[in-house]
Symmetry: C3
Subunit: 254 residues, 3 copies
Amino acid sequence: MSSVTNVVVNRGIKKILMCDQKSRNSLSLAMMRNLLEHIKEGRENQDLRVIILAAQGPVFSAGHNLKELTSEAGRTKHEEVFRLASELMSSIIDSPVPVIAQRPLVCQLVAQCDIAVCTENSKFSTPGANFGIFCSTPGIPLARKVQGSTALHMLLTGLPITAAEAKASGLVSKVCTADDLEGEVQKISDAILSKSRSVIGLGKRFYYKQVDLDVRRAYDLGGEDGGESGHEGRQGGNQELRGEKEAGLVARGQ
Amino acid sequence: MSSVTNVVVNRGIKKILMCDQKSRNSLSLAMMRNLLEHIKEGRENQDLRVIILAAQGPVFSAGHNLKELTSEAGRTKHEEVFRLASELMSSIIDSPVPVIAQRPLVCQLVAQCDIAVCTENSKFSTPGANFGIFCSTPGIPLARKVQGSTALHMLLTGLPITAAEAKASGLVSKVCTADDLEGEVQKISDAILSKSRSVIGLGKRFYYKQVDLDVRRAYDLGGEDGGESGHEGRQGGNQELRGEKEAGLVARGQ
Amino acid sequence: MSSVTNVVVNRGIKKILMCDQKSRNSLSLAMMRNLLEHIKEGRENQDLRVIILAAQGPVFSAGHNLKELTSEAGRTKHEEVFRLASELMSSIIDSPVPVIAQRPLVCQLVAQCDIAVCTENSKFSTPGANFGIFCSTPGIPLARKVQGSTALHMLLTGLPITAAEAKASGLVSKVCTADDLEGEVQKISDAILSKSRSVIGLGKRFYYKQVDLDVRRAYDLGGEDGGESGHEGRQGGNQELRGEKEAGLVARGQ
């Protein structure tokens, strides 16, 4: 059986390439199980530093596999699909190494990845309602990444947004030409590789912890955990300390 | 007594036109009661699919009716105004059919509607503090739709933002020319009409439920409710299933 | 001992100028204590209406003072730094008068201020992870002001964003030329000065209270507090009532 993904690990970067073109790289049960396994695998491997989710082929992404969501498939099957989708999304949050979406993957994956880069002519939509199934699970990361008006516009109409709208509304953090795509993702990966794995892991964990708290409770936690993550951070990160000159520079301008 | 609104229902689309030009379509008690009635009415009518809030006249919108917020009006009156405003806003959230803001309505309504479209030269502001009454209730949907820096900028200064800033900050999802306005809203309405009423209703309900939860609890709920809304969705939506070819297409690009 | 800040109060506007160029205006313990004192001082002074945080010199801002975060400094010291940073950020939220960030201050301060204005060639970054210390505390206001994809992009990579990206993502509400900077901040200050101090104070307090609640609870609170803040507002704000003509105008367009 040929796999629905193709995985290459190089210099600490695990690139998971979705290559199930027959089903347009849909989030089938097989694809979700495969992605979940590859995202979870090596979680404790100190050499693993970055995960990139990408996709092969002219149409780069798809939603759920509708064959698994027909009336004939039955309710138990549907529940399995949505439960697995939730587990997959949670695994991205739980991954101690950053997960980057490259190119237009399925909208839900893009919205859940820590960082997302797409090409200029990418389009994104959540068309589930067109097929009688509202994109409820995709709406979860969408509501947290994308501004309210655009998120509901997408979910209720199923109409696509452009790459420019994806950047403006917060779905992706960078848009570039197809030629620059690899370079842009490499730049992001390099920036992560240059840092301490444990600092990034603790920092990412703290981010997802604090973001759901009210702001005062978050600051209380910062006071408690700040020293913690700072300390462990320094242990792992000392070798990368590049001198205080640079350290001072956080924002500059005229 | 002439009504402060003019309501037309056509092909499942209920258009509520605010036409109280004498008071600049302010959210007077009379206007709020009227809007509330029209938004709630027909909630269970299966033929009702979309509600559009629009306004008549060269100045399209206003805030509260200040005559009802003078010292002479008294505290009980003020409390009634704010309570009714909250009830009106909640009725938009509770509406099982999407509520679209067309043109520059009062900022609070625009921010609370599910989808908002405005014209290029629209401006939006929350000037309450200018008149001794902070826009506290308008700040609720504003804080949830608009980026923090812009929301507070508007609320604390009362200064207006342009249509471009409204789009960039998330207050509206589309900006178009005055000539294209009807067409753009029609396109959105058509997209909703082409879907199952129950799928949209369940999906909208789930969205407002999950958006306030922390992300893990939201995914737990997605796992539980996903099958539910998916299933009911399919019941209502089967006739609209357009084939799996399209279904696969969620995001594409080069 | 020369102070690390230079404070001028004029017409109700307190301008706190960070001028510790030797340490690139880093958020050293001395700087944080100084800022905290100046933000808290005069909180009950009815003549104080606006606080502006600005910085001197060609490089306008810095993060924490890394000398205080070395292994030698020790864990107790680090905890003190993070606790004080949290206290400083909370003092901005608690300030009854709006706090405006002018020019590119340290990213964490910009993100926490109520309103932020920067110049066209400003850049912002959260490079802590480069030095083995994740920007956990700066991530708190960042996650609340800036869209998710950009916030994590900044925190995980340490790479800077431009002024245009800062505006698009919500970090600042206005970008202008260096020449226009003073004028833009003056315009914002004037808008605040023209309003009632108590209305602004109550309104700001309500904003930070409701923003962390779920939307229905926020509206319940609006119903309860609306009359309250409205009433107190009117007491303080009556003299500024400018007639109902203007009051009606909240959004306009063609």
